[in-house]
């Protein structure tokens, strides 16, 4: 959730009120475990592994970061929507296409929600998905390699905040449009917003790696759609989406979109949608959006799609129902049994809990309070299972421990509130520092949570670490939820705004980790399978350097005949077949990035030398005792100087084809 400055100030005023109220209740515990207890609870001895992999969204870094729990140690940054010079992601020829969009090369984004793939409603550790908010996209990251394999752009969408929430067998991930826009987008007056701007809910086929695509979209009234969660168990087949701004305001939303007492949760029967699509009730709309994926050769391709299937709720009866929900609901969460739909009304004073069973009964009895754009609005009293009283101010998100308890973050009063799914009564609360957004329990949105830890993801943190100028570290807090009382165990800094996170027991993916790429299966057309095949070729102004790297030298390591104005492609193949022996590659004056090449892989970097001279190149990843010696030279001559292309390693330069 991103708030404008003015909205923030408004909320802070409320926050002061909230903290005042809270401070009066002096007997309330801070929930901090004793230092020694907490330290031993998060201590992971040298050489031992963490219990959980945690996947934290990179926020505005556009990446995914992987951390260990309970230690809070950073393990890896997986570049997704941002260029990443450390390993050439988005710069090298094999990954550049991953950042293509219908708007052009979009090499940054704002990533909010990682979402693990599921089988039977439980995270299975195959993939993790993550959204790009600004230029709507969804990426698939393969958890055997921790590498982004696929990125799909979402058409007819603007502000892809509410994604990628997944169905119990990974049939679909969904994407909502935070900003309604004209569909198809066109030049028109903003004042004509009401009725003309539309919201779009997208269902993206997720269980076919390499072939992610929009299966269908549902065109909705022009509200702001925020978050979503899939039903499970009895509610499997349904997807729930929050919306705000049912006022359809288009300016000064902090006032104009906060007028009504209730906004809506949209309940979508996606199995019904499949029926309607199969029966031909949907229409095909022209739409330009891009699908990027890496094939067997590990080279990204970008394909432009030309149309999309759109379903109008008026053309498909019993598809969507609105559940009135107080007030500006942000999160919508379904409990592990699939019976309850919990809404986080960010301006509400209670947590409304809808009953799926009552919802179905109300639909059957047609207990509607009205119809909006052809979509029935159910009666609030007919569907509500209960309201959690005194839940803290600004309830946002809820996750579950699998033992009958729910945990809700309260943004304004900065606390986490634990409540019972039987009595809807608060049973425990713990303050967090400072403003909390999402929370995460490993598997906490699934059918079977691993309810041992809770991570509170703080949106604004002050005074937790050594200050670092005007910008401070973003923070997460680890809370023990295994007992009756929540206990704070650890603060740990994170990368970017760690908006949301997911976690999975390490053992589920530990043994699946790929250690290296088999050189014999390298399908890169520029792969050099041995030093004997290393060579340099010229075609017009294009020069291809077919290079190999092995501890501790490149072949060739001397290259001549490059001229200013040439496009030089360095295709570097790492010949190693040993775990964790990558080689790097960089050349003097390189404007873009370096390469990092994993064992058995080939990566290509384009270099355009701008002035004559001798250019050293070297290995950037410390690879052996003689890593510093892993270097070479390129001679760059003036344009049309006629120096023949020549290369060599450990001997005289050759100008011909290699001997073998």
């Amino acid at each position: 959730m991103k708030l404008s400055t003015s909205a923030r100030l408004g909320l802070l005023t409320i926050a002061l009120f909230g903290i005042g109220t809270w401070a009066c209740q002096t007997s309330r515990s801070t929930g901090v475990a004793s230092t020694a207890d907490a330290a031993s609870a998060v201590y992971v001895a040298p050489g031992e592994y963490d219990e959980f992999y945690a996947f934290m969204s990179g926020g505005f870094s556009g990446n995914l970061t992987v951390m260990g729990l309970p230690s809070g140690r950073l393990l890896k940054t997986v570049p997704v929507f941002s260029q990443y010079a450390e390993n050439g992601w988005g710069y090298n020829e094999e990954t550049k296409e991953m950042l293509q969009t219908s708007y052009g090369f979009a090499a940054w984004d704002d990533s909010h929600h990682p979402e693990l793939s599921m089988t039977d409603g439980v995270p299975d550790g195959r993939w993790i998905f993550i959204n790009a908010n600004n230029t709507p996209r969804i990426a698939r990251i393969d958890l055997t390699e921790f590498e982004t394999k696929e990125i799909l752009e979402i058409p007819n969408s603007a502000g892809n905040h509410g994604s990628p929430f997944i169905t119990p067998n990974s049939e679909y991930v969904v994407a909502t449009t935070r900003f309604s826009v004209p569909v198809p987008n066109r030049d028109m007056s903003i004042e004509e917003y009401a009725g003309n701007f539309k919201g779009m809910l997208s269902f993206i086929r997720a269980n076919d790696p390499g072939n992610m695509d929009v299966a269908f979209q549902i065109i909705m009234p022009g509200y702001n759609y925020d978050l979503a969660h899939a039903g499970k168990g009895p509610s499997d087949g349904w997807m729930f989406f929050t919306s705000y701004n049912v006022e359809e305001a288009h300016t000064l939303l902090e006032v104009n979109a906060s007028k009504r007492d209730k906004d809506f949760i949209a309940a979508v029967d996606w199995k019904r949608a499949e029926e309607c699509v199969a029966e031909g009730a949907a229409r095909t709309m022209p739409a330009r959006y891009v699908h990027n994926y890496k094939g067997e050769d590990r080279i990204a391709r970008s394909v432009m799609k030309e149309s999309v299937t759109v379903l109008d709720p008026t053309a498909c009866a019993r598809l969507v129902y609105f559940l009135p929900t107080p007030k500006s609901p942000h999160g919508v969460d379904v409990d592990p049994t699939g019976r309850f739909i919990v809404a986080g009304g960010k301006l509400a004073t209670v947590i409304p809990v809808h009953s799926f069973e009552k919802m179905i009964a109300a639909i059957a009895a047609e207990q509607f309070e009205g119809v909006v754009d052809g979509i029935p609005v159910l009666q609030y009293d007919a569907i509500i299972a209960g309201e959690v009283q005194d839940p803290g101010l600004g309830p946002l998100h809820t996750e579950f421990d699998g033992r009958g308890f729910a945990y809700t973050t309260a943004f304004i009063s900065s606390e986490i509130v634990k409540w019972s799914l039987e009595t809807f009564e608060v049973v425990d609360r713990i303050p967090v520092y400072y403003s909390v957004g999402h929370l995460m329990i490993p598997g906490g949105d699934s059918r079977e949570p691993w309810g041992k830890y809770l991570v509170a993801l703080n949106k604004m943190t002050k005074d937790r670490y050594l200050p670092t100028g005007p910008e401070l570290a973003h923070s997460a807090q680890l809370i023990d939820i295994s007992g009756d009382k929540m206990r704070l165990l650890l603060d740990f800094p994170t990368m970017g705004e760690p908006h949301y996170a997911q976690a999975i027991p390490a053992e589920l993916i530990l043994d699946k980790q790929l250690r290296l790429y088999r050189l014999s299966e390298n399908r890169n057309p520029f792969a050099t399978m041995g030093e004997g095949a290393a060579k340099v070729t010229r075609q017009g102004r294009r020069v291809d350097v077919h290079m190999t790297a092995i501890r501790s030298h490149f072949a060739p390591d001397n290259i001549e005949g490059i001229e200013v104005g040439d496009s030089v492609f360095f295709h570097v193949t790492n010949l190693e077949q040993d775990w964790d022996v990558p080689h790097g590659f960089a050349v003097l004056g390189m404007e873009t990035a370096e390469l990092l090449i994993m064992p058995g892989d080939t990566r290509t970097l384009l270099w355009r030398p701008t002035r004559p001279g001798i250019y050293p190149f070297y290995c950037t990843d410390f690879c052996s005792a003689l890593h510093q010696e892993m270097q070479g030279y390129v001679r760059v001559s003036p344009l049309n100087s006629g120096v023949p292309v020549a290369w060599g390693t450990g001997g005289r330069l050759t100008t011909g084809q290699p001997a073998n």
Binding site: R551, E576, Q577, A625, L626, E629
Partner: protein, 214 residues
């Protein structure tokens, strides 16, 4: 001089124990270093040398180039071309000894077996000596007085690697085979031509295939 039934059975079993030795490592060399916590190592088969892991041989060759050791190319090691034939010869000779029941053949078999085993170990040692001492003078890492000969049997620290050399399952089977042969001979130790009694002679007649055929 004929063997008892028991001794012939033991000799046959001893020879047949060599069959799996064709498919199992005769000798193993394990290398352990902090950088290779899971270990890396070589297996000497009757006809080749291979890494314990899929890429171990390639990686050992890669590491060894720093200290100037030769690369191990199994296809260029002559002994590996001869060894299967020698092992096969021993196996066949053992079977013949068991089939004919001739004690002289069993004795010859044991002598040949011991000689070849000794020759094999000496050859292995010499190969290790050459491998560890005959270093490329242009090697990047030169430690004065340091040689890298792996131990014939047991453990030795070679720079950052602790090298442990030990018979593999195939080698252990070969030793067991030899042991069974010796046992067979030992059980028949009183079975000489001078002290042959009537019962033994009858036994021998019955067992001797020539008699059986007659």
């Amino acid at each position: 001089m004929t063997m008892s039934t028991r001794s012939r059975a033991l000799t046959a079993a001893a020879a047949l124990l060599l069959v799996p030795a064709f498919f199992l490592p005769i000798w193993t060399i394990d290398l352990v270093a902090p950088q290779y916590p899971e270990g890396i190592g070589l297996e000497i088969m009757v006809n080749t040398i291979r890494g314990q892991g899929e890429w171990d041989l390639q990686n050992i060759n890669g590491l060894n180039h720093y200290i100037g050791m030769k690369e191990i190319h199994p296809e260029s090691i002559r002994e590996l071309a001869i060894m299967p034939w020698l092992l096969g010869g021993i196996l066949v000779l053992g079977l013949i000894a068991a089939a004919t029941g001739r004690k002289r053949l069993l004795q010859a078999w044991l002598v040949v077996f011991v000689l070849l085993a000794a020759a094999g170990l000496v050859d292995f040692w010499m190969w290790g000596y050459d491998y560890g001492h005959n270093l490329n003078p242009d090697a990047a890492i030169k430690v004065p007085g340091m040689a890298y000969q792996p131990p014939l049997i047991g453990s030795k620290q070679l720079l950052n690697f602790k090298a442990t050399s030990w018979p593999g399952p195939g080698g252990l089977l070969a030793f067991a085979s030899l042991g069974l042969g010796v046992l067979g001979l030992w059980l028949d130790r009183s079975r000489g031509p001078l002290r042959q009694n009537a019962g033994a002679a009858a036994d021998a007649q019955a067992e001797d295939p020539r008699h059986a055929a007659a």
